[in-house]
Amino acid sequence: MKELSKVRHFVYNCRKCGLCGNKVSAKVPYVCPVREHTEGFEHFYAKGKITIAQGLFEGQIAPSPELTEIIYSCSLCGNCLTQCGIIDQDSGLPLTDPPQIIEAMRADLLREHPEWIAPAYHAMITSTSQYDNPWGLPRVTKERWAKGLSVRTIQEEPSEILLFTGCTIPSNPALIPRVQKAVAILNKANVDFAILGKDEPCCGSVQRRVGAIDLAQEMREKNISMFNNLGISTIVTLCAGCYHTLKVDYQKAEPPLKPKVYHLVDFLSQLITQQKLIFTHTQNLKVAYHDPCHLGRHSGIFDPPRDILNALPGITLVERRATRENTICCGAGGGMRLFANGTLAEKIGKASLEDAMATGAQAVVTACPFCEINLTSAAGQMNHPMPVYDIIDLMTKGLRLEE
């Protein structure tokens, strides 16, 4: 219980009031997507999980395979933390933090009882060690997508701005157009940038979320040293998970990451404001924006994607009941696509799409490859699948770059 002991205060500061599982209001249809889309027993949401953590401290229960099943059934979306909202008045930090408690329990379980952890998690961790890519693809994957495009590596010529593509987008054939379109948009705005190509490392986000914290820490230290010595001033990420990891985790580390970190939507919304990107094509589409947890609730990026959508001619943005900090996770957070073969993740994703449909939206737009994968997969389970776009898709159309 080494890691759990570090967050003991979070366990005992929880009053077990149940707000994290029970709140319903005009903006909160429900708090915990796992509780909502399972049989709803208390161990499915934060209060029950924290009760179990306290039981471990007090010796009333012991780690078991059942504990593993319970602790990995969480998307770490943090809505429980938002709705709980108890903040230390002096430090401004949360007094209790369910996602941190769960991450700590995962770390302890993985260290002390790896045999209880599902093979899919081990495979992801092994792939990281072998390929520096959790999805088991060789390094060359990180530059293959750029073949034939007007993009250079930082090794070829230095640049102030680094486009950090992350592992998920270049590793997934369906998502590769996202990075290619991002390059086209940046070129259209005459942004001077470079990529790392096959030398781009994994940021360590997914490893940390599933409990491989030693590996994640090793990656973080190595990566910070590398980034700080690249001669860059800015990193632009495509992936919400990478963004949160670099922006929050890396910048809190010692030594901290020096370059400024932007998510692409934040970076591009500034280019729109500066009139470096002017949309000329009207699309006539009503869309709901899905706030990725890592980008929105965890990092505070709510307005830039909406600013982009509002700037796109013909795009009408509608808001769901749960939006911005109250957003409901797409289902893919916290390694949930590896949990129970992804069935729970897809169930949550399907509900998310149905919520969007209820607003009259014709499509869902997001800015995270994990959300896009899971929502697209969930859409496939529907009788009338709702289209799922990355915001880059709509921008590319608006700029007539596809032509």
Partner: protein, 495 residues
């Protein structure tokens, strides 16, 4: 033999609710061993989540047949621990799957819902129709409708809003009270608790869940007030505060549109640290209604009354009134903020009371002195506390309910936890001796209340309990150790 029987119970329960809605693993049941209190509960052998009155009825009949003790749980929001049942034998019924709003009737001003619904959800659904449920003192987002009816509404003055109940009695019989076909009034759309027969709805309000399981309830709803004014005055003397409350009550019924709330110095320090040097009381009048003109008039009358009695306004308090106006006019914002505020302050030693308004001053001062002495003891033992909270409000024209809580740091220290548990128990003993009674009929407080019952009342309770629950399966021993005829629960269930 025993194992075969237990497997049979599991199988029978599976046939009632479906296997997915039964949990019998050690950690799933352990997750239910705590509630919002520091007294917790006991770990049940199985947890079942029924989805309808009929399923509850079948579960209860099965438990009655096998003499399995039942513990019923709603939102798990009790401050005195959930019923203990018989440790090692309990089947816990988690009611929160029964969370549907059945009807909201704008014609009759009623809402009917399943009793596992959390009040915040019910409130939201009412708000969508332009109505609300008067419940300013409940932590709406964690309390279930059934828990509210069984544990707190009786004392909080809200009992009159609960009109009709569907109840599963301890032998599985389903009964409905308070109006509608099959009740005391065999008329649709006619809700009255004591026409055509005795008020059996009242029998189940504040019973702690020991007479029957509430599965559906019809409650009175009120047209949502769209206009609000908040006025806050400072008073240096408690006697003048009480005069203000009395004069306010002479003019209006606080329920539902004109609540008046009094905050003590400790509460104000939490709201506004700059208040720390002031040792006064704050009186807050909330005026709610449907027209600006009406509210302006109420506001002026309230202010004139407060000024006549020596209350003063300051720019700081006016600013606070403005904040309160905006937070309370939102979606139950006031209740929400209070819960967060309490959670931030630390481990709560909840010290609630219900007192007659007449003679309040003397008893209140004694209670405050008792609390402060206990806080002095805590300090001498090195236990740090993070704040106090004093608050009271009329629950009806003759009664004031409130609390004088304190909040401790280091909730992970078992000595602090024990100190707080003892403080809460001792306070209620002391308050009882002074003529007070707690707001809540929950957990260990039910046992404490019952110790002060006169023989006649105890006889009535045990007679009704024995009649309805001869095998003593439903929340056994919640109030008293049953000495009525009938056998105690005997069956242990094993996974």
């Amino acid at each position: 033999m025993k194992k075969a029987l237990n497997q049979k119970i599991y199988k029978d329960l599976s046939e009632i609710v479906g296997e997915n809605y039964i949990a019998a693993t050690p950690l799933a049941t352990f997750a239910y061993s705590q509630d919002a209190s520091i007294f917790g509960g006991t770990q049940a052998e199985m947890v079942v989540r029924p989805g309808s009155t009929e399923e509850v009825s079948k579960i209860v009949a099965l438990a009655n047949q096998h003499r399995i003790p039942l513990v019923v749980r709603g939102g798990g929001a009790s401050i005195y621990g959930q019923p203990k049942g018989l440790p090692g034998s309990n089947l816990l019924i988690d009611m929160t799957r029964m969370n549907k709003v059945l009807t909201i009737n704008p014609e009759s001003f009623t809402a009917t819902a399943q009793c596992g619904i959390i009040m915040g959800k019910l409130q939201y659904e009412c708000r969508k129709e332009g109505f609300y449920i008067y419940s300013p003192f409940a932590p709406l987002h964690i309390v279930s409708l059934g828990g509210w009816i069984a544990g707190a509404a009786g004392a909080a003055g809200l009992w009159r809003d609960i009109i009709s109940l569907t109840i599963v009695l301890p032998d599985g019989t389903i009964v409905k009270t308070g109006g509608g076909p099959g009740t005391n009034i065999h008329q649709s759309l006619f809700y009255n608790r004591n026409l055509g027969g005795p008020d059996f709805t009242g029998l189940f309000i504040g019973d702690g869940g020991s007479f029957g399981i509430k599965t559906e309830a019809t409650v009175r709803i009120t047209k949502f007030p769209t206009v609000m004014r908040v006025s806050i005055f400072e008073f240096n003397e408690l006697s003048k505060v009480l005069a203000m409350v009395k004069r306010h009550l002479e003019r209006v019924d606080p329920h539902p549109f004109d609540p008046i709330m009094v905050f003590g110095p400790g509460a104000m320090k939490n709201f506004m640290p700059e208040f720390s040097e002031i040792n006064s009381f704050i009186v807050q009048g909330i005026m709610q209604g449907h027209t600006e003109k009406e509210m302006d008039a109420k506001y002026q009358v309230f202010n004139a009354l407060a000024e006549e009695l020596g209350g003063t306004r300051t720019p700081m308090l006016d600013a606070m009134a403005e904040v309160m106006t905006s937070s309370t006019s939102g979606e139950s914002g006031m209740e929400m903020d209070w819960l967060k505020l309490f959670n931030v302050l630390g481990l709560p030693a909840w010290l609630p009371f219900t007192l007659p308004r007449e003679g309040f001053l003397e008893v209140y001062n004694k209670l405050i002195a008792w609390r402060n002495a206990r806080l002095g003891e805590a300090t001498s033992r090195g236990f740090e506390y993070g704040g106090t909270w004093e608050f009271f409000t009329p629950s009806d024209s003759s009664t004031l309910i409130g609390e004088i809580d304190s909040f401790f740091k280091d909730a992970g220290n078992p000595e602090v936890v024990f100190f707080v548990q003892t403080m809460m128990r001792d306070f209620q003993e002391y308050a009882h001796q002074l003529g007070s009674i707690d707001v809540y009929n929950q957990g260990l407080m039910s046992n404490l209340h019952a110790r002060y019952w006169p023989a006649g009342f105890k006889y009535l309770y045990t007679t009704i309990k024995a009649s309805l629950d001869p095998n003593n399966i439903l929340n056994p021993d919640l109030w008293t150790s049953q000495k009525h005829p009938g056998r105690r629960p005997r069956r242990k269930i094993k996974k």
